[in-house]
């Protein structure tokens, strides 16, 4: 099948296949994306993050459905952790998105993190570009669930929504450093449960100490499973979009994200170049020498990159 033509013609099978090939790092995929890269930049990227189980997938589903109702085309990328021991993963975010499966405006892709740290999957960024080329108006990216330092989503999305739930009191305290800064919008989901208002107030108070920009994040209460508060979140997204676009932050933010992307790709390229130029035996040999203290790891690390100093042949 002609994948490139399929992508241009809006064929969903081509879209699905191109994402697979790109996720697997196939050269044919990268060639197609390079040729069509000029078509990217039109989709608005929304990050959905927060601790495990707070309702990220449920909220994403409701927001996507609301946008679909407005005639928008939506891509969803849902990331879940890959087991570092087996390389396997259970990707379960779709359970909460069943109602969207047959919506012709919506395309959902689940991704295992495949060893990538930072809260997204190895192929998330490239999948975003592909969906953008395909013509999605909005792309939602659900992270694997933040712990302490996974702030990569803020380097990818235009608007980042931090989802929390009542009863996470201590967690919220612990998350203060780093994590709280990445939310452009805060959602307290499961507002049908006791303590939601208290949680919302705590977040509000914390945000008062956090005046890093002129944008004051909104705190919105939702009951995602009952579709309550969804329109408020949608309005907050649109408001934040308008704010960053009017203030010029949008353009500078996107440049910053492109910079991050280039550097990440460069790092990957260098790593893969090192690994192709170095057999397992050679590497083990070097490790042995260091273990015997014949050489030191600092010099060894310089030695193994020597062959690529002349530049990477692509």
């Amino acid at each position: 099948m002609d994948i490139k033509k399929g992508i241009i013609d809006g064929d969903r099978i081509a879209l699905a296949k191109l994402i697979t090939m790109a996720e697997d790092g196939k050269k044919e995929a990268m060639d197609i994306i390079k040729e069509l890269y000029h078509r990217t930049g039109n989709a608005y990227l929304i990050g959905i993050t927060g601790p495990p189980g707070v309702g990220k997938s449920t909220l994403t589903a409701k927001l996507a459905r609301a946008y679909s109702g407005l005639g928008k085309k939506i891509g969803i990328i849902a990331c879940d952790p890959t087991s570092p021991y087996t390389g396997g993963a259970i990707l379960g975010d779709r359970i909460r998105m069943q109602e969207l499966f047959t919506d012709p405006n919506i395309f959902i892709r689940s991704m295992g993190s495949r060893g990538h740290l930072g809260g997204l999957s190895r192929g998330t960024r490239v999948a975003v570009r592909i969906m953008d080329i395909f013509g999605m108006d909005y792309i939602f990216i659900e992270t694997v669930g933040v712990g302490q330092s996974e702030v990569e989503i803020a380097d990818t999305a235009d608007t980042t929504i931090m989802v929390l739930a009542p009863g996470l009191g201590d967690d919220i305290q612990a998350m203060k450093a780093g994590i709280m800064e990445i939310g452009d919008i805060f959602v307290v989901n499961k507002a049908d449960r006791e303590g939601a208002e208290k949680t919302a107030r705590e977040i509000d108070t914390m945000l008062d100490f956090n005046e890093k920009s002129t944008w004051r994040p909104k705190v919105i209460m939702t009951v995602a499973q009952d579709n309550k508060g969804i329109n408020d979140v949608l309005h907050a997204i649109e408001e934040h979009m308008k704010y960053i676009k009017d203030s010029g932050i949008f353009a500078s933010k996107r440049k910053e994200h492109i910079k991050e992307e280039i550097l990440e790709l460069a790092t990957q390229n260098i790593m893969s170049e090192i690994m192709t130029g170095l057999s397992k035996e050679e590497l083990l040999g070097i490790v042995d020498k260091v273990a015997k203290r014949e050489i030191d790891p600092y010099s060894a690390s310089i030695d193994i990159i020597k062959p690529i100093k002349g530049g990477i042949q692509k």
Binding site: R12, I13, A16, K17, I19, T20, E23, D24, G25, T82, S83, T86, G87, G88, A89, I90, L91, G92, R94, I95, Q98, F101, T102, F107, I108, R109, S110, G112, R114
Partner: protein, 133 residues
């Protein structure tokens, strides 16, 4: 580069028995596969759309309701209609041995009934899906 086999584990029809599907999902994960689990009560249309969007190599259907003779062939037929007939379709659950030949004639590659060790279905999938490097 070695990539994991991607499998959709789905439960077609009005069938609330999900223990087997969950056991299978975990076993496939532990065998190094990426398992997309979609939950209970899926229509064949929903299953096929999910299989296409996720670009899975395998569609694994778990069914204990007795409606296997209609629902499983329907999934295969829809996959073909939508241009996704290249996927391996396997089934499992409470399915009488007498029905298995019919299901196989309809394009379900293999059926795994209660008591079959999960290692058998894993072996079957690994030997029937070729994930090229």
């Amino acid at each position: 580069m070695d990539r994991p086999i991607r499998v959709l584990v789905a439960k077609p029809g009005l069938d609330g028995h999900d223990r087997g599907a969950k056991v299978i999902a975990r076993a496939f994960r532990d065998a190094g596969m990426e398992v997309i689990y979609t939950g209970l009560r899926q229509t064949p249309e929903q299953i096929v759309e999910a299989a296409i969007q996720e670009d899975v190599d395998v569609v694994a259907l778990s069914i204990l309701s007795g409606a296997h003779n209609t629902l499983l062939p329907k999934v295969v037929q829809l996959l073909k209609e939508k241009g996704a007939g290249d996927k391996l379709v396997v089934g499992g659950g409470v399915i009488p041995p007498d029905d298995i030949p019919y299901l196989k004639s309809q394009g379900i590659a293999e059926i795994f009934t209660p008591g079959t060790p999960t290692s058998e279905s894993i072996e079957f999938i690994k030997s029937h899906v070729r994930v090229e490097a």
